[in-house]
């Protein structure tokens, strides 16, 4: 079983790496995603699409394989061995944190506090970009939590493998490709609204230009809430839902009163993940960012190409700090187990009060 999980994990990493744009572009490696991005930037969507074709085929195949394969054994004890951490595992953990977190942060700090100029630039030019990103990422995270909640409430007893596969495809296709698709459908949508006239027309004119980008973040990472919702449902004893069913509660009531209160931590985690990933998302942002609202990742990417690395460091630090702060607060709210219990109980009391009244 563990072998299967490892293979699925490796396939997922391969899948995401094959579609990555940010790293390959910065390192000046002409991978397929970079090529697709450049073709689109040059205004040649047709040739970009042809370039993307092999990658799309691969992504589709891998998504199907993963959706069928990568589901954890629900019987497996979730945290077996967690309490026996220690010895070499402990040191591995520490080394990982040092390598992946402390070292880059220290580097950033050294760069950022090396002089006043980079910090000034970061704050004056970069802060608006950070604000744009935080706003859009938060909107995407909110939508993601909502999607997960709808999935849990409406189908608490069913697996949603096709939906998950679709989400995985959206996660893994080259960002430029997804952006082009969204641009086109956005165009169609606007035209459709215009032909409706009246409210539709004014909606299309007054909707903020960044709506499309927020939606794109949400679609890009929709796999995460779907996946985590599924994880939480799989970890749930079916008898919990069955006893509610025997009492005569409808599927929606079971989802709302039993499944959702038990899944909400997973959904919050999904929201947090979407927030962090959307904050750093580059290829989609680059194509969909409206004029005058440059997201953080695009700003950082441009600065890095100019070589203003201290400013990049400074703002990265700021972005990382604000993300960590937000997530820490959310985590704190979620972490008390009493909180979980009371949330469920009060949620149920609210539901009951509404039904009775």
């Amino acid at each position: 079983m563990a072998k299967g999980e490892l293979a699925a994990g490796a396939l997922l990493v391969f899948l995401l790496a094959s579609g990555d744009f940010t790293v390959s572009s910065l390192l000046l490696v002409r991978t397929l995603p970079v090529e697709i991005h450049d073709q689109l930037a040059l205004g040649r969507p047709a040739s970009a699409a042809w370039t993307a074709l092999p990658l799309l085929g691969f992504v589709l195949l891998a998504a199907i394989v993963l959706a069928r394969r990568a589901a954890p054994d629900p019987e497996a004890p979730a945290y077996a061995g967690a309490s026996r951490r220690g010895g070499w595992a402990h040191w591995m953990l520490l080394a990982g944190v040092a390598l992946g977190f402390v070292a880059p942060l220290a580097g950033c700090a050294a760069g950022a506090f090396g002089g006043i100029e980079p910090a000034r630039l970061a704050l004056s030019a970069g802060l608006p970009a950070l604000a744009v990103s935080v706003r859009l990422a938060a909107a995407a995270a909110l939508l993601a939590v909502l999607l997960g909640a709808v999935r849990v409430v409406c189908w608490p007893e069913q697996s949603a493998a096709p939906l998950r596969a679709a989400g995985l495809v959206l996660l893994a296709v080259p960002g430029a490709f997804l952006a082009a698709g969204l641009l086109m459908s956005g165009q169609f949508g606007r035209e459709g609204l215009e032909t409706l006239g009246g409210a539709g027309g004014s909606l299309s004119r007054h909707a903020p230009a960044s709506v499309l980008l927020g939606l794109a973040y949400f679609l890009r990472f929709a796999y995460l809430p779907l996946r985590l919702a599924e994880e939480s449902l799989r970890g749930m004893d079916p008898v919990l839902l069955e006893s509610a069913e025997l009492a005569g509660h409808s599927r929606t009531s079971r989802g709302l009163s039993i499944a959702l209160p038990l899944a909400w931590r997973h959904l919050l985690a999904a929201g947090a993940l979407v927030f962090v990933l959307a904050l750093g998302e580059l290829p989609v942002s680059q194509h969909l960012a409206p004029a005058g609202a440059t997201p953080l990742s695009v700003w950082l990417f441009a600065e890095q190409h100019y070589g203003y690395t201290e400013a990049v460091f400074a703002l990265s630090l700021l972005a990382g700090g604000s993300a960590a702060l937000l997530l820490g607060l959310a985590g704190l709210a979620a972490s008390t187990s009493a909180g979980t219990a009371r949330f469920g109980a009060s949620g149920w009391r609210f539901f009951r009060a509404r039904r009775v009244s």
């Binding site: 008898v239 069955e242 509610a244 069913e245 025997l246 509660h249 109980a345 149920w348």
Partner: protein, 239 residues
């Protein structure tokens, strides 16, 4: 009060290594009576109760409740419409609801309203000694208290058929006899039909008028009785 009739029930479980657990189980439970069900570990007692509750469909055979077809390979009356109270072997208490919340949630789906509902809930809390524990979460209950809550929950709704899957495990002698008495009282007062899975003679004697024994996928005549009283395929508890 429900009359239960099972005819030729067969069920195969498992995905990879499929095993025929039930191979033609037939029996009849008179309305208002209680039948004790015993059998070796893994003989299919829980599986049989799940079939009766409609949580799974039989591969063959049919189940009738009050003469109405409830389960067949092609048709399944939704579990919520069977008016069954089920004490699961693993209890399945809702970890996010407190003791009172368990009863409230079940009662919310019952036709009982207002004063009558509140009185019924108080009765249950009192009868199962849960009044002082009403604000406790399942994680804050002892093993025995969890069993009490599971039984109270099963009795909270408008049930007519009670399925008890080893419900008294973990209760000490004196508490068990009190709880047995309480369940018996509820059963009599509401004329509940019941099936009790148990190996304990004191439990079976206190609650049940008749016994069934599951062996190798069939209802076997209990030891000490004449095999001829039970037809082919085991027409167990027919009066």
């Amino acid at each position: 009060m429900s009359e239960l009739d099972c005819q030729g029930l067969a069920k195969t479980v498992g995905e990879s290594d499929r095993a025929a657990v039930l191979r033609g189980v037939s029996f009849h439970v008179r309305a208002g009576s209680c039948v004790g069900l015993s059998g070796a570990t893994g003989s299919g007692k829980t599986t049989l109760l799940r079939l009766i509750a409609g949580l799974e469909a039989p591969d063959r055979g049919e189940i009738r409740i009050d003469g109405r077809l409830a389960s067949s390979p092609a048709w399944l009356l939704p579990p919520g419409q069977r008016r069954i109270g089920f004490v699961f072997q693993g209890l399945g208490l809702w970890p996010h609801l407190d003791v009172a919340g368990h009863l409230d949630y079940v009662l919310a789906a019952s036709p009982l309203k207002g004063q009558a509902r509140a009185r019924h809930k108080d009765d249950l809390l009192e009868a199962f000694r849960l009044r002082d524990l009403r604000r406790r979460m399942p994680a804050e209950l002892s093993g025995g208290e969890k069993h009490l809550l599971a039984i109270a929950r099963a009795l909270a709704g408008e049930v007519r058929l009670l399925l008890l899957d080893e419900p008294f495990a973990g209760l000490d002698g004196s508490l068990k006899s009190r709880v047995l008495e309480t369940v018996a009282r509820y059963r009599r007062a509401r004329g509940l039909t019941a099936i009790l899975v148990s190996h304990q003679t004191d439990e079976l004697n206190a609650l049940c008028e008749e016994r069934l024994h599951l062996r190798e996928g069939h209802i076997a005549p209990p030891l000490g009785r004449q095999a001829s009283a039970y037809g082919e395929g085991g027409g167990g508890a027919r009066p």
